[in-house]
Symmetry: C2
Subunit: 235 residues, 2 copies
Amino acid sequence: MKRTRYKEIETLLKVKIQHGVLKVGDYLPSENELCTNFSITRTTVRKALDNLLKEGYIEKQHGKGSLVKERRHSLGLLNVKGFSEAVGMIVNTIFLQEPAKREWSTTTSFRPSENELKANNLHFERLRCVGDDPVMLENNWFADLELKNFIGQEFVEGSFFKTLSQRYLIEITGSEQELRAEYADERTAGYLKIEPGAPILHISVKFHTNKSNLNIYSELYCNTMKYPIGNSYHL
Amino acid sequence: MKRTRYKEIETLLKVKIQHGVLKVGDYLPSENELCTNFSITRTTVRKALDNLLKEGYIEKQHGKGSLVKERRHSLGLLNVKGFSEAVGMIVNTIFLQEPAKREWSTTTSFRPSENELKANNLHFERLRCVGDDPVMLENNWFADLELKNFIGQEFVEGSFFKTLSQRYLIEITGSEQELRAEYADERTAGYLKIEPGAPILHISVKFHTNKSNLNIYSELYCNTMKYPIGNSYHL
DNA sequence: AAAAATAACTTGTACGTACAAGTGGATGTT
DNA sequence: AACATCCACTTGTACGTACAAGTTATTTTT
């Protein structure tokens, strides 16, 4: 991934927030202070802050400053971030199917392109739990393009997206989603420990990446009884 | 609402896209062309394009240009925009309860602040249909602060948010959402024309506005069988 | 004919400047 | 004591410039 000045400051501040150096309610240094501290211009500082705003880390107040925001504790609706970043609780992950070459699923909401269908396909399935409670059944498909040694390797910090970013320089640039409330089928209900026929939230996602050939297709089945899916948006 | 140069161009381009003057796949004029056409700097043009990108109207290609994007036809998940803007189909709206002063609901996921609870509360309930199909039952609550003559007036173009913007200069600045799959209760099922107990998507939203006292609390119940809820996100 | 360099476009990053506008405390006036 | 003004801070908008970097067609070289 290309390194830029604004990304540097963005991640630097993000890490400080994540590690509690900057606590909820704290004001960040003013834009001018950040300018002098890091020897950059306000344009660049503001670009970094804009991104933090977009991701819900901070809140801006005209005339006052930028302060660290409370991020919601419910499972964040995965706009770009992965599951593990979005949750403020201990997440356990169980692989039901390890990454391997498999056929493209015929049941995804978003249809892969011709090129993707021609290529080999990688797939894996995981069960995500909060503590001991299974809350989400996750299936991922994507075309096998230049991802050397993907199969068999451990994920970086257990995160698929961190693995893509750090090992293959692949970044998520956007997503499309479709949400449905459905009856749980038997298999899904079994893994999520609910009765078959109970309502579950079905999320279909197509993630776009900086490699224009590569998209990631995810089908998520969530038990929202205990842990509703949440997200937030800021101008 | 304060008028700014970038907002001018943003809405101008948005209208052209919405009215089909700029079609899906068309390239917008280059940033430099927009600069000269509207006598503004590239900084301002880029700010406008950034907003269009964020709202999913366009897609940017480094070295090539910005082109109009296909917006998904499913009901857009209302991040900031209202229902009627987000749907590419004919939407009919039936008021089940006209706007009036009513008690705060006790069942909202997001709890109003003390100040809001002390104030009078306005409420209305609508049934949103695509053609003849009812797809969403919508309840809205908000504190009655300085909203003169809200009751009894027609909405601007049938849109609650447009009414807030144009008549009261109130703009949505962000939102928090919680999503749940639930069993439909009898009343909801009746209006949505589904069997009681069928799975429905329950969306709780707290909209933030530029008036710090004013938030809008919405509870949406969606029949996602025919029309899944969709949204998209772009970096 | 194929490959490499070039030129002319595009968007992306970053610099610097100026003033508008919101906030809150200090200061002065009534 | 209450109110108005001012000042020093903050973020918001908009100007202008420069160069990096991706894309594409043309030209030159091999």
